[in-house]
Every structure is written in structure tokens, then in C-alpha cells.
């Protein structure tokens, strides 16, 4: 009974983590950017969906769409206002661009977080779920919304796989992650590929954010923990490896659920952090890292 509950709850959480981390790792794989405003973008999506549905009364579907749209815009803003100027800057030495991107996106994330807090307060917000009610699976009362979350996550990840592996644009993205110089030699504009990747990232982060808002609720305080969890999942899986991130998301999701159910919710994040430190010691490149 309890085992099934852990199995089901753990799956929904893990699928959500996986969706959130996939975009993050995709950006790193293609352009070497670690986007520390990730949590802020997710929260912006959730809060926008909440505001559209609860204040403007546009309905849950339109609200969710608006949330994803806001995430897409924020993602483009992150790229064009923060990341691209740093990448193009001549005054920043190449070996230091990484830390500048980290600092820049971190500051940008704080700015987004403060704007959200200013206009929508720090209170936790729960987005109205698209599907309501509960069903009984294997003797466990499960909210339909939780099943919906898991299905959407798996579906979107499958769609992403098709996009990357089966379309021309996707193949260009994949090629750019393998060898950026080779791609430019083939006559493809690298900036265009980056824009595509940031668009994919924005949509993924937006969907993850809106679903998180429906499932657990968000507040502007969730920004830091969300970024940290995406970061640790991605590093655990191996930076830039999408399949590694998926595995890591499920490991972390189940570990957290197990701890919360069997030990205490207060210790929820500790085993995952210990595992992360352990993996860093024995396998610094992560589970499926290339380097």
C-alpha cells in the first residue's frame, strides 16, 4: 500500500524534475551556458498562469498557455539581454565567460524574482488544475492532476526526443552540441541554433513551471531551491547529457519521496545531496557525462 503510494508519488515528482532539468541540460550541451535564472523562469510561468486564471478569469487552458508564453519571453530576454552580450563581449576573456554568465544569469534571476514578489507578493500560489478529482490506483487515492502531470511530462520529453533526433532543426541543434565550429563550417548560423535552443528551453521550463504550480504550488521563494535542484540533477546525470539528466531526475525524485515517507519530510533533500557529493567523488563527470 505504502510502497505503491511511494511508487506513484515518486513517479510524478520525478517526471516533473526531469522536464525541468531537460531544458537546462540542453542549453548547457549546446552553448555551454549554465542558466542560474532557471528557477525564476519556472516561477514566472507558474505565477503568470495563476494570475491569468485567477485574476483575469481566462480559464485554466488559456492560463496555462499564457504561463508558457511568459516563460518563452523570459527565456528570450535572458538570452538577448544577459547571455548574448556576455558571449559577444570582447572585454571579458574567454576563459572567464563561464563565471560571468553564471553571475549575470544569477542576478537576472534575482531581478525576475523581485519583480514577481513586488507585483504578486511572496505568498504561495497554486494554479487551478486542468483536471480535477481523484482516482484510486492500486488502492492509492491519487489526484487526477498528478497523473495528468506525469503524462504531460513524459509526452513532452518524448516530443523533444523526436524533435532533436528526427527533424532538420533538431539535428542542427545536436550537431552544434557536438562541434559548434563544424556546424558553422557547414553554413549554419550558430546564433539561429542558439535562438531555437532557448525557445525550446523556454517552452520546457514554462510547461514544467505551470505543472509545478498546479501540483505543489510555487512562491517567489521557490526560485533558489528550483534552480539548485535542476543544477544538481543535471550535474548528477552528467552536464549536457539529456538521458543522464532523465535518469538522475528519477533517482533524485524517488530518493526524496522515499525519505519523506519513510524517515521524515524534514530530511527530504539530505540523501539526494549526500548522493550528489558521493557521485562527485567517485565519478566527477556525473552518471553519463562525456568528459
Amino acid at each position: 500500500m505504502r510502497a505503491f503510494q511511494i511508487l506513484i508519488d515518486g513517479f510524478a515528482i520525478s517526471a516533473l524534475y526531469a522536464l525541468g532539468a531537460t531544458g537546462f541540460t540542453l542549453i548547457f550541451g549546446v552553448s555551454g551556458v549554465l542558466n542560474l535564472s532557471h528557477g525564476a523562469i519556472m516561477v514566472a510561468a507558474a505565477v503568470a498562469a495563476w494570475a491569468a486564471a485567477s485574476i483575469l478569469n481566462v480559464g485554466t487552458y488559456a492560463g496555462a498557455l499564457i504561463g508558457v508564453g511568459v516563460a518563452l519571453l523570459t527565456s528570450f530576454a535572458t538570452y538577448f539581454a544577459v547571455v548574448k552580450p556576455i558571449q559577444d563581449s570582447r572585454r571579458i576573456p574567454n576563459e572567464e565567460k563561464e563565471i560571468f554568465v553564471l553571475t549575470g544569469t544569477l542576478l537576472w534571476g534575482i531581478m525576475v524574482q523581485e519583480v514577481i514578489a513586488y507585483f504578486f507578493t511572496n505568498n504561495a500560489k497554486t494554479v487551478l488544475p486542468i483536471v480535477e478529482g481523484v482516482v484510486e490506483i492500486l488502492g492509492v487515492r491519487t489526484p487526477r492532476n498528478e497523473i495528468f502531470t506525469a503524462i504531460v511530462c513524459c509526452f513532452v520529453i518524448a516530443l523533444l526526443w523526436l524533435l532533436v533526433n528526427r527533424t532538420r532543426t533538431g539535428k542542427a541543434v545536436l550537431a552544434a552540441s557536438m562541434n559548434p565550429r563544424g556546424v558553422t563550417l557547414l553554413g549554419l548560423e550558430l546564433t539561429n541554433i542558439y535562438v531555437v535552443v532557448w525557445a525550446i528551453y523556454g517552452i520546457l521550463a514554462g510547461i514544467a513551471g505551470v505543472l509545478l504550480g498546479m501540483f505543489l504550488g510555487v512562491s517567489s521563494y521557490s526560485v533558489g531551491p528550483l534552480t539548485a535542484s535542476a543544477f544538481s540533477i543535471v550535474v548528477l546525470g552528467g552536464l549536457g547529457s539529456v538521458s543522464g539528466s532523465l535518469i538522475a531526475a528519477f533517482v533524485v525524485g524517488y530518493l526524496e519521496t522515499l525519505t519523506a515517507y519513510l524517515v521524515s519530510p524534514a530530511y527530504r533533500t539530505i540523501p539526494a545531496l549526500l548522493l550528489l557529493v558521493f557521485v562527485m567523488y567517485i565519478r566527477p563527470q556525473g552518471l553519463l557525462g562525456r568528459r
Binding site: R91, F100, L102, I110, M111, G224, S232, M280, P284
Partner: protein, 308 residues
């Protein structure tokens, strides 16, 4: 090294310290209190800059070192009643041990991987403090019974003196051969090792020195505040402020980091009337500096001097 005492930077620094030392004679206790905190923060930022700017280690967890020093000192004083000075010394030593713990992964992993390890260290410390609430005061914080002094002027001078001495030592170290080796090993560890320098030894030394000053400053800050809490010395947001200070002031300058910290704290106070928007404005200014003056305040000033 000797030529430094004739540079313009030295005279400007000296003049600033002398002016700062006379402040308690004519400004209010409120301003002194603000600057006292800013000076301790300056030491945090300088210690961070030694690790990042010179050793090239992206340390996202400066508050791990600060927090260990601060909480060790606080717990020894509040729970065991040890004297203030013993607590401060032991806090700094505990921080050095924490620095060695942090240095272990740094010798194995680099770049973002090391950055994440340090971030995890902070989160673990934070969890530890909350879980062992009986010892640490948990989320509410720890009330410290003793203080160094309650005189605002004296506290200010202690902080100023401490910052000046730390700055002299850290700057001296950064300009010494050790600093050069560190810089080389940060930029290209393989080549630096091939030139015959013991990189491991130098990196460990950098971590120990950085941890010592972070912990000492954290312990002093705890006895100034009279409390130790997650929000003031451990939280990731505090660490972000330390990093932003160092980048704002100019990385790889050590002294710039202190300027950045003082600017950040004083600006935060000036913007208090804008309410919740203060953090936004400070972050926006910091982002603009990062984008348009990547060298920071001191970096921009020094490069102009070098050009003219």
C-alpha cells in the same frame, strides 16, 4: 613588493583608511553600525576573491566557510560559555578545517562541478543547522550572550582595523610569488605543474587562508550582531551578495572586493525607502556593471591608469 609603497593605489588606500578611522568622531552610531557590517562583509568578499580571482576556483559557497566559523564561535559561547576570544579563535580554526574539506573536491573536479559541490556544502550546513536545532537554535537562530563591546565607535574601529589588516595580508599574498603561482595554476593547471610548481600545495594554502579570514570575520560578526542565524551568515543569498561584491568591485584585485562589499551594503541601506524594490535595483546595477564594466570598479580605474 617594495615598489608598491610608492604607487598611487597605496596612497589612496592609506588616505581612505585614515579618513575612515576618524569617522566615529563626527558621524552617528547608525552610520557606524552600517559600516561595521560592511567592513566584515568586505573581508568575506576579499577572501572569496583570493579563491576565485587567483586560484580560479568558482566557490558558490562562501557562506559554508563563513557559517562554520560563525556558528562554531556562537555555539561555544552560547552553549558552553567559553570566553569570547577563545570562541573567535576556535571559530576561525573550525573554518580552516571546513576549508580543507572544501578543498578536497576542488583537487578532483573543476569549473561548474566544483561550483555545485560548494553549493551543496552550503545546503548541507543549512540542513544540519535546522535538524540539530537544540544545539544551533535552528531556524530561529542562536542568541549569543557575550559581545566584544557595546560601544559603537569601538566596534567600528575593531571592524576597520580587522579589514585593513586582512586586506594588507590578502593583497600582499596575492601580489607575492605565491599569488602568481596561484594565478597560473588557476588559468592552466597542467602548464603550471609542468613548470615545476606544486599546485596541490598552493591550492590548499589558498583554501586555508581564504577559510581562515572568512571564519574569523564570521565569528567577529556573530559577536557584533549578538545572534547567529541562517539568514545572516549561511543562506545562499548571503553568499550571492559576497560574490556580487567581489565581481562588482573587480575580481582579481582583492581590494576591489572590499569596495564592492561596502558599496553593496551602503547602497542597500540608501535604497531602503524604495521598499521591496531595493534588491531589484541593486541586482540591476550589478548586472549592468557585469555587462558593461566587466573589470568592476577597481578594474576600470586601474586599466584607465595603466592606459594614461
Amino acid at each position: 613588493m617594495a615598489s608598491f609603497f610608492t604607487t598611487r593605489l597605496f596612497f589612496i588606500s592609506l588616505a581612505l583608511v585614515v579618513i575612515a578611522a576618524t569617522l566615529p568622531l563626527y558621524v552617528s552610531g547608525y552610520v557606524l553600525g552600517l559600516l561595521t557590517v560592511a567592513f566584515y562583509f568586505g573581508v568575506f568578499a576579499m577572501a572569496w576573491d583570493l579563491l576565485f580571482g587567483f586560484a580560479g576556483e568558482v566557490n558558490f559557497g562562501p557562506t559554508f566557510l563563513i557559517g562554520v566559523g560563525a556558528y562554531t564561535a556562537g555555539i561555544l559561547n552560547a552553549q558552553f560559555g567559553w570566553s569570547v576570544y577563545a570562541c573567535i579563535v576556535l571559530g576561525a580554526l573550525a573554518s580552516v578545517i571546513a576549508g580543507l574539506v572544501l578543498a578536497l573536491p576542488a583537487l578532483r573536479v573543476r569549473g561548474p562541478y566544483f561550483g555545485l559541490t560548494t553549493l551543496v556544502a552550503v545546503l548541507m550546513l543549512q540542513n544540519f543547522i535546522v535538524v540539530f536545532a537544540d544545539l544551533t537554535g535552528g531556524e530561529i537562530g542562536l542568541t549569543i550572550p557575550d559581545v566584544i563591546t557595546i560601544n559603537a565607535g569601538a566596534n567600528y574601529w575593531i571592524a576597520l582595523g580587522f579589514m585593513t589588516i586582512s586586506a594588507a595580508i590578502l593583497y600582499g599574498l596575492s601580489q607575492s610569488p605565491i599569488g602568481l603561482v596561484l594565478q597560473a595554476s588557476g588559468q592552466d593547471p597542467v602548464q603550471a605543474g609542468a613548470l615545476g610548481f606544486n599546485i596541490v600545495k598552493h591550492k590548499l594554502a589558498a583554501f586555508i587562508v581564504s577559510a581562515f579570514f572568512s571564519g574569523l570575520s564570521g565569528a567577529l560578526l556573530v559577536f557584533y550582531f549578538g545572534t547567529a542565524s541562517v539568514g545572516t551568515v549561511v543562506d545562499v543569498a548571503v553568499g550571492v551578495n559576497v560574490i556580487v561584491s567581489a565581481v562588482l568591485g573587480g575580481r582579481r584585485t582583492v581590494l576591489g572586493a572590499a569596495l564592492g562589499a561596502i558599496f553593496l551594503i551602503v547602497a542597500g541601506e540608501f535604497l531602503r525607502p524604495t521598499g521591496e524594490f531595493a534588491t531589484f535595483i541593486v541586482s540591476a546595477v550589478a548586472l549592468l556593471v557585469v555587462l558593461f564594466f566587466p573589470g568592476g570598479f577597481l578594474g576600470a580605474a586601474l586599466s584607465r591608469e595603466a592606459r594614461s
